[in-house]
Symmetry: D2
Subunit: 436 residues, 4 copies
Amino acid sequence: MNVSEFVTSIGDDLTSWRRRFHQFPELGWTEYETTYLIGSELEELGYELYLGKEALVTEERMGVPVEETLQSAETKARNQGVPEEWLEKMKGGHTGLVAKLDTGRPGKHIAIRFDIDALPIAENKEGLASHFPTKQGFQSHYPNVMHACGHDGHAAIGLGVATFLSAHQGALTGSFTLLFQPAEEGSRGAKSMVEKGWLDDADVFLSGHIGISPMQVGEVVASAKGFLATSKLDVTFTGRSAHAGVEPQEGKNALLAAAAASLHLHAIPRHSGGETRINVGTLHAGSGRNVIPDHAAMSLETRGETSELNQYMEDEAVRIIQSSALLHGVQAAIQIVGKGVEATDEPGWQEFLQEATAYNDRVVKVRGSLPLKASEDVAYMLNHVRERGGKATYFIFGTPLAAGHHHPLFDYDEKVLEVAVNIYASSILSLLLDEE
Amino acid sequence: MNVSEFVTSIGDDLTSWRRRFHQFPELGWTEYETTYLIGSELEELGYELYLGKEALVTEERMGVPVEETLQSAETKARNQGVPEEWLEKMKGGHTGLVAKLDTGRPGKHIAIRFDIDALPIAENKEGLASHFPTKQGFQSHYPNVMHACGHDGHAAIGLGVATFLSAHQGALTGSFTLLFQPAEEGSRGAKSMVEKGWLDDADVFLSGHIGISPMQVGEVVASAKGFLATSKLDVTFTGRSAHAGVEPQEGKNALLAAAAASLHLHAIPRHSGGETRINVGTLHAGSGRNVIPDHAAMSLETRGETSELNQYMEDEAVRIIQSSALLHGVQAAIQIVGKGVEATDEPGWQEFLQEATAYNDRVVKVRGSLPLKASEDVAYMLNHVRERGGKATYFIFGTPLAAGHHHPLFDYDEKVLEVAVNIYASSILSLLLDEE
Amino acid sequence: MNVSEFVTSIGDDLTSWRRRFHQFPELGWTEYETTYLIGSELEELGYELYLGKEALVTEERMGVPVEETLQSAETKARNQGVPEEWLEKMKGGHTGLVAKLDTGRPGKHIAIRFDIDALPIAENKEGLASHFPTKQGFQSHYPNVMHACGHDGHAAIGLGVATFLSAHQGALTGSFTLLFQPAEEGSRGAKSMVEKGWLDDADVFLSGHIGISPMQVGEVVASAKGFLATSKLDVTFTGRSAHAGVEPQEGKNALLAAAAASLHLHAIPRHSGGETRINVGTLHAGSGRNVIPDHAAMSLETRGETSELNQYMEDEAVRIIQSSALLHGVQAAIQIVGKGVEATDEPGWQEFLQEATAYNDRVVKVRGSLPLKASEDVAYMLNHVRERGGKATYFIFGTPLAAGHHHPLFDYDEKVLEVAVNIYASSILSLLLDEE
Amino acid sequence: MNVSEFVTSIGDDLTSWRRRFHQFPELGWTEYETTYLIGSELEELGYELYLGKEALVTEERMGVPVEETLQSAETKARNQGVPEEWLEKMKGGHTGLVAKLDTGRPGKHIAIRFDIDALPIAENKEGLASHFPTKQGFQSHYPNVMHACGHDGHAAIGLGVATFLSAHQGALTGSFTLLFQPAEEGSRGAKSMVEKGWLDDADVFLSGHIGISPMQVGEVVASAKGFLATSKLDVTFTGRSAHAGVEPQEGKNALLAAAAASLHLHAIPRHSGGETRINVGTLHAGSGRNVIPDHAAMSLETRGETSELNQYMEDEAVRIIQSSALLHGVQAAIQIVGKGVEATDEPGWQEFLQEATAYNDRVVKVRGSLPLKASEDVAYMLNHVRERGGKATYFIFGTPLAAGHHHPLFDYDEKVLEVAVNIYASSILSLLLDEE
């Protein structure tokens, strides 16, 4: 079987899928259209689908939007043609799906994860002629939502891998579980799929990301390391408003509490045990110039090279937030809306992938490990599989980038989609061969 | 002439005008509909109207919204039926108007000012059944804009006073100038009317406000004092974004600059020379949780018992804002978007008003001076008239309040409208009599 | 009786007393030598003396130094020749004294207060030739202690007044109580004398201060007003030290807690009810550059135009200090070491003093009230007497100043001493005459 | 030659030297007595001595105390019996010395460094019976100065090594340079010796430290790594004082500038390039509770895993300090009083030392590298030698510690002195053998 030729034959599909996802981006836990698009393709390919509460544990989801946001997204999806029976299953932020393919023959259980959510970013505001999606007419249809982290490509790659597996089903052994994960951004969704048990008996777990580090199309990192553990916190401060001229002493200043918290959070002592991070990413406070601000909202995150280090940061952060509220006599409500764990690379995977792709002409260079220095929700999955004796890796697929991740002009070379499918497919074939 | 009876006869008009203004509130410099409603009534009453650049000096306006806000407001006004010729004159934020009535007989020049703008407040969100405008069906038609400071009533009172003057024109002497001032909130509009010269030869200047202090309908403060001088500043901080996990050191944190500025601004030393105030009313910063924030916007105000004290506060504020930017290596842009001066009461006005309303059964109690401890754009006008030898006062018309000024449930007893017109009318008559 | 001539006759004594006090300045509650010098003079003049626990209520003293400071001061006093029996009575910070003179004739009870403590300031470090005490050879013998607020003069004036009363005893009526009050600085001593009951039946209470405002010798303010209520707080923060390189996360940073408290204290909202003040006057923290600081000490004060306003400031301060400790996980210990109340002027006193000094050639101008805008421990006494129906005033004796109060080069024109005695003496005579 | 037996024979000398140094501790650049004690021993042993400006480059010294501190230390040394000719050479903070021994036979040039300064710490305040130096009667004679980092032992070890070399001179080859370095604490002295050229042609450089990590006597780390680059900054803020009650607005608050700087310094963004540190170790500000503080002094340090990282921290720190001064309108003066570079371990040294001490019964375990995570002035020397092709190591000599380094109860097992001399001597012999 020539993997590379097969993937080339579905190249147009990959591009077309990617562009469709790019046009209709959806934020975490509202991927109603996206899930439907993926699911209907997989259904045709003969996969057994698990949707909604069959796919994930409701209570383990983190950072689910408020009810009215969910309802408005569901209405929008309905208007976009998502069938009622699908919506019924996904209702209330139960997006994403799991697809299973069982060859009926004994063999490895291989699980693969693709993340599918978009970001709250307005695409390409300046209308630069150079932005490829705009030039090609597939830019985001939705204001302030954009696939600016390549998950449109990840979803397309997932469909490509699914097509490959389905087409070569007769020649494969064991079983395959494809996880199309919602709400990766903010480390909110992986745990709810893990806790559903999909990976409990996985022998091998594959996953990956487009871009990240400057590489050419055809280059691949076999196994990333340095996933930082992370906590995502939303904080609201509630004080008491007062006329700033007439009776300033009657106010309880929520803006100042948030400002104090911001400064003091960034001064959490460095930790000699390893890398830590803190960022107050957004702060919105006050209602009018001449009113003592009675509310403030803040979103922040902590990170650590290990979960212990991240917990140190989170604990410090919580105390500082509460103390800052006390400083100004206001109330602070803290919500943990995301939490990610640390992870590292799979030993020996560079050698494995070099062998697996030795004869694949689309893979030109296999690199060893690369430190991510960021957080990725997939870490829950990597660790879960390894703890049970399985192997687990996170590829990085090389591509030039038009602009950095999370940037309004983010874009990549679509040729990376084919390369990524080649890498998944060659790895799978090699894993099955190992077995024999 | 029985003032009280006449005013009673236009009581329904007052209520009806007030409610119309309340339903279609407009922010400072976008009072297109409001100006048209007022102007067309005055035209019918026979006043000579001065609109747009005839009414105010373009360059002396402060805190004019950006062009696209103005255009969108003009489009809305057009859709609401404001005629093109009116819009043409008011274009680009030239709202408000001046109406003149000359009796042809020698006598005093009396000028009266009414402010007409609304506030960026969402009315009565909770839909409390008790909110009178909602119960009566005249709540704001526009989201996030509300007459929460009584200027709807001030505009109605203005029309009432205009009706009175017009009706009794034959019995009056001298001339009358009615200023329907835009953009009082934020101390942005008075100066542009003053500089046009309307008050240069005014013998008496009258103005006033509904509510303020707990009083019954029928009570009035003859002349408020303690107007604080004020400056309104808009600040934007521009830094550099960076991924908070991957390379925090590359960021230039605008959020932290704004937070630092907020704290340090509130710590400007107290001044032994008199009262001062500082308030950072709003702060909006950052774009995403995991991005070092590259922008922050802050609105603030300073106040002082005198202009010197306010200037001390403003100077300190500017230095602190710039230093806070420097602390984080970001840029700060500071814009003065409003500036008000201090003012005090008119001596002897309590006695004057007591006499003037001695036989007016709607005025039950005339109080002396009351310290405002707030800023009011009218201070420019009060001072201007007094500097030229005229007399100038600022009434406070008593009414119970459903909630404080600038509150989403703000409301007052509509009976105060009639009382206010009585006070203006009786004062005018008494002033003319003095003459004789 | 010619007051002015008599005072001129003791002019050399006044200068000589003042210089002796200036050479041996002592801080609050350690005025052992000073008390002895005063007491032995008064004994000779025939006064009945009350020392130590006879003069004040032990428990009502505030801000008494630690035992070892007291002991070291007592040892120093012993070496300077203060007799053992005196030391025994004053032991443990029971300094100051009360002297009584009863004429045996019915009449008013007049009480007068003189404060006697010095400041922790190093005199005239730069050795400027222009500093009068240095030039005349009577500069402070003690390092870091200086009479830089004129209490050396106050004590001398007290002896002058005592001499006057003693000399004219036969011509006077009623009784006299002279309070030589310790620990005025920091508002620490007055209450302990008041609570002993000395003023309970005083008909008139006199007190005063040299300098304060720019005036010539011979000018006097009849009755100062605007005494600010005040609280004096000492705070210590205790954290945990750690090596700043090896394990910064193990530290609990007391320096940062104190720094945070300092900033946030100065940002306590201004109060529309009247003047308030806050000052963190000293901050000492840390032991070494490379150690996370585990201790910090801070001295601060709040003030208010009224006791309510000061209490608002104190309450805010306490919460902020505790919150700042919590911010850094350290402990804060707060001690109130001084507390003063507000006070105002005695009505009608300008007229009284003008009459009383009408024929006194040393008093050239009697001014009315002057706002102090500072705190003075005497306020307890003024209020106590007035509450019981007595009259009470606080004079300000005009003199040019070489440098401001509390400055290392502070000095005044010694001629003010005679003027002050004249004012006290003339007032007393006039008070007695009133009676007749 | 049996190294171990020889060292045992001088064991009492080692203890006696150490205790003498411990009794008379001296801070950096004032080691007058210490240098004399060392020098006179070395003179007797026949070393060629280089003192004062012969030993170091005046201008390359960092953090030299002010003239009056130096003079007072010289006076003290004179009183303690240091001869005038020695004092003359060391005058003005030219302490420390270099001793040379040339065997006259060709061979390696081996340089060894011992640091000799003490710390500004008060020894054993609580007088705990358990503190060994107190129990044995050799505690510090000087208040607030203590050998709390083992440099008393280092100096004794230096004399032990010198004795060994001198005694075995006939059996050795090449030449030896012993550097008794002043002012190691604060990274202030090494550079001035390096720049004098002592190490320019060194083939091997040896150095070491007692304690650091929990190990038994007999254990040794062959070569420490992870020396952090560091900068030591002294900052003074100068503002303007004012009476905090009367005219707070006239002050320029140096205390608040220092407090703001402290907070903002600790919030310098973490750097993804490696470890960084910041510590404001001491802060002293203000003169009196009721005076706006016009001065503040702050000592701080930055560190970085590399010099680039430390420079990032230093640059940020300087900008933040200057901005904080600007915030409060005060002046900041920044002085770099110490600077250390990063360094790492010598490869292969564990194997070398294992062989070298294989037959030495006092060395029970040779460990490999250990990360110091602290700064040590010796890094200049290690790097200088390696850059010229030499080998250079920094041993860590195991010993239990009574309390951590820089603690008032710091102490170690004196048996470590003999072990350390064994390690130096065995290493030297082995190095010479290598040659043959």
